[in-house]
């Protein structure tokens, strides 16, 4: 029982074509990131993977989550969360870097040895 009301101003159905296109793009990017893992030299591998993840995230946010057409306030709210999270990470990272050797030197607790696993 389909309810065919006229479009009131706030409903904004996204076209199927657009959604499927975004999905295909996401899959391609996923394949790209899996295949490229381990192929790139040391420092770049992480940044490329994170970069691809960011592009995928942007696609999900803009189109699946409708941010592309949304009120700027909602977008601002969400972005602010990322800003504050990155603040948290950066300051803590800067600080913990300075005292790592004290932790490294702390004696470790020996791991409790479980009973020997049954041999097949």
């Amino acid at each position: 029982m389909a309810d065919h009301h006229d479009h009131t101003s706030f409903a904004h159905p996204v076209s199927v074509k657009l959604l499927v296109t975004v999905f295909v793009a996401l899959i391609l990017l996923t394949i790209l990131t899996v295949v490229s893992a381990g192929q790139l030299p040391r420092p770049f591998g992480l940044w490329v993977a994170m970069g691809i993840a960011t592009v995928k995230a942007a696609l999900v946010m803009l189109f699946f989550m409708h941010m592309f057409w949304d009120k700027p306030f909602n977008i601002m709210a969400f972005m602010s969360s990322l800003l504050f999270a990155s603040l948290f990470i950066s300051m803590t990272l800067m600080d913990t870097g300075h005292y790592q050797d004290t932790i490294d030197q702390f004696p470790r607790e020996p791991v409790a040895q479980p009973a020997a696993p049954a041999q097949p």
Binding site: M1, A2, D3, H4, H5, H7, T8, S9, F10, A11, H12, P13, V14, S15, V16, L19, V20, F23, I27, T30, T33, V34, A37, G38, Q39, L40, G45, A49, M50, I52, A53, K56, A57, V60, F63, F64, M65, D70, K71, N74, A77, F78, S80, S81, F84, A85, F88, I89, L93, T96, G97, Q100, D104, R108, V111, A112, P114, P117, A118, P120
Partner: protein, 357 residues
Amino acid sequence: MATADTQVHDEHEHGEFIAHHFDNAEQQYDSGKLGIWVFLVTEVLFFSGLFVAYTLYRSHHPEIFDQAHVFLDKWLGGLNTVVLLFSSLTMALGVRYAQLGKNKLVAFFVLITMVCAAVFIGVKAIEYSHKWDQGILVSSAFNYTTVHAVPATAIGKALHISDYLVYLSAVPAILLIGFLIAAVGFTVGGKKILGIFCGCMAITAGGYFLGAVGAQVYMNATDGGVGGSHASQPILLYAQEDHAADDQAGTEHAVDDHGDGNEEHSADDHGAQASHGPDPTKFVRDIGIFFSIYYCMTGLHAFHIIGGIIALAWILWRSLLGQWRSDYFGPVDYVGLYWHLVDLIWIFLFPMLYLID
């Protein structure tokens, strides 16, 4: 009572789906939308603590991450990623059809989303039980053995699967059987919508087994599963430069001649099953920290997936009741946004945990 000639609100103009404190449908929708976005902000900050922990340990101890990530299978992780991305698509389609008032299509797409979510959990259950069999636990209890634990439960022995998997699957199994019985019962008893709903829930529970069985088959094909060892796992790679702090390093360090990441094996390794898996004596200290972070991040994420399934079930129920129309579809939209966030988090977790090179 009031003698004022302007009333506060007029009930029959209001529409039964607009709450009394809102002036119109659009205000209600806008409020809900802002509300869910703000809730998503709290979720991002909630996970941020774990991302902080990850960033800290990865930058201060990259060697832990380099060694430990080999225990994660990137193809299974990739499969889970594809499953979640697909579920995001079906969710977005569900939202679209809710805005068009096409309730049956909403129910259909929400069901697929739920099944995908259950598949994800099924695959996760395999990953977790597989690791627990091998002593891959959080930092304090990390005690890797190359040989899987042998099942002791009747079901485990019969199906040749891990005991932990049996325990994990107990709840989905009960749900599957329970909802099947309920579906038949309600349909026969004339309560059609309840019957359909329970049937959908049973299908969702079935999704768990779909994922679990698929992943188990994959595991068996690649490494021998229960009682076997990691034939296909890359052997630990890095000859360590400095082992002053590593009191486990009693053996000599084999040299990596071919540059293919495989160490040459010393003579006493031949024939033992341990030679085909990561060599525990080469682990860096604190390697278990990786798994503490892994279990916390994926565990919390899985918890949110399960919460999402519950929220989606609620939406499914309301879709079956035909409640959505072009000026009232908010709840589908809001649950959809939550679901996309869960997908978003996984989009980052996957490369961070599985794709470390």
